[in-house]
């Protein structure tokens, strides 16, 4: 490290060298970042995974006190248009009567309490409950009834009678307009 030439030059050399070192280091860093970034984004879901991951459902055709069922990611999803009466009925149920206690508000979207959206898979053994078609029996709690072993759910999908021990799942969704929801 024995420097030649007078201080100034030596010093200039120092500076220049440091500058170049930094420049080089910075460039290399940029390259490294680019690599990391590209490998990172390669971990994101591919297009096929995105297919049908998200789609919109128009609720306007559903009349009050009736429901529809559609398939989303291979699972059946139920959407029920509740009457004011039905809503107040479920709200009236005391928590202690519930097998898997959850407040009604946590199962409906604020401001859209007339629509209940649930996954139509019975938590007991995975059968598909009935209650959407007008002809279907809805069970003792005016919600859904599981044909397999008789689990009964209320109008917002909370289990009221065994063997199932958990409420019907709620798929991820949000309201885009008053009559349009985006699933996923």
């Amino acid at each position: 490290m024995a420097g030649s030439g007078d201080m100034a030059v030596e010093h200039g050399g120092e500076d220049r060298r440091d500058f170049l070192k930094i420049l080089f280091g910075a460039t290399a860093a940029v390259g490294g970042a680019a690599i990391v970034w590209s490998f990172g984004s390669a971990l994101e879901p591919g297009e096929s995974a995105k297919d049908g991951a998200v789609f919109d459902v128009d609720l306007s055709p559903i009349e009050a006190n009736s429901g529809i069922s559609l398939r989303w990611r291979g699972k059946p999803v139920f959407i029920r248009h509740l009457t004011a009466g039905q809503v107040s009925a479920v709200e009236a149920t005391p928590m202690k009567d519930l097998i898997d206690p959850v407040a009604v508000k946590d199962r409906l979207k604020p401001g859209h309490s007339q629509y209940a959206v649930v996954v139509g898979v019975c938590p007991h053994r995975g059968c598909v409950p009935v209650g959407n078609k007008p002809t279907d029996p809805r069970g003792p709690y005016d919600g859904w009834l599981c044909p397999c072993h008789g689990a009964a759910f209320d109008a917002v999908g909370r289990v009221r009678r065994g063997p199932a021990q958990q409420n019907l799942d709620i798929p991820p969704y949000r309201f885009i307009s008053d009559t349009l929801i985006r699933l996923g």
Binding site: H124, R125, C127, C146, P147, C148, H149, G150, G162, P163
Partner: protein
């Protein structure tokens, strides 16, 4: 440190109690393979297989079992051939153009697809039974209890259409009808096994389908254990003597 280990043991014991709390209405049975060193009783398994063929096969598949595997139950090749011949004779379920069953095939699925099954049983689908025994704690007991668990529904319960009251079944109502038809099987000696025995043996059979390597595992495992004991002794001696000098 010693204390620490002791404490651990204590807590585990506690946990044991805890578990035993969560039990169901079971009719515990004696199974030859349940004891630490116990192995399968081949005659049980053979009867169990007969029972399965006569009473269960019409609704439940055994997707993980090949017909050739039956030789492990002590069936001779010609016995297996006979089984296959019988099945190929009554090829009702499957479409015409289908190849005849061979020893290399897995047990035939009774329904073309789940939908067909669900339609037949009010939404319920007869699960594949290959692994069902492992699906429940003390699975063999559970299967026995299920098969023997049918009762007249008490007045207070409202039964679902096409369902049967069963004290062993979680939910007490099952879409599966009582399956064991008395006299549906005939033993080699011409006797007809009792329903209890049928339930017992088919449970044993399904335990085998779920753990076909149990016998081999115990045999090999014991050899390993013995070997380790010997190795431990020799090693101990060698090292001690090594230290001695």
């Amino acid at each position: 440190m010693r204390r620490l280990i002791f404490a651990a043991v204590a807590a585990l014991a506690l946990s044991g109690l805890a578990r035993s709390a969560s039990a169901q209405t079971r009719l515990p049975q004696e199974f030859s393979f349940q004891s630490p060193l116990g192995t399968y009783d081949k005659t049980d398994l053979q009867v169990g297989f007969a029972v399965y063929q006569a009473n269960c096969a019409s609704c439940h598949g055994l997707g993980l079992v090949h017909y050739r595997d039956l030789r492990h139950l002590g069936l001779a090749p010609q016995d297996i051939a006979a089984v296959l011949a019988k099945l190929n004779a009554e090829k009702s379920a499957d479409p015409p153009g289908k190849a005849p069953l061979m020893a290399r095939d897995t047990f035939r699925a009774p329904f073309p697809d789940d939908a067909a099954a669900a339609a037949k049983f009010h939404g319920a689908i007869p699960p594949d039974l290959s692994l069902i025994e492992r699906g429940h704690k003390n699975g063999a007991d559970y299967i026995y209890s299920l098969l023997m668990g049918y009762r007249a529904a008490p007045p207070d319960v409202t039964m679902l259409p096409g369902h049967y009251y069963n004290v062993a079944f979680p939910g007490l109502q099952t879409a599966m009808p009582p399956a064991l038809k008395p006299g549906s099987v005939t033993l080699a000696d011409g006797k007809k096994p009792s329903v209890q025995q049928m339930a017992h043996d088919v449970a044993a059979f399904l335990a085998w389908t779920a753990n076909p390597t149990l016998d081999e595992r115990k045999a090999v495992g014991l050899r390993i254990i013995l070997f380790l004991i010997v190795l431990g002794i020799f090693g101990g001696l060698a090292l001690r003597s090594g230290r001695r000098v």
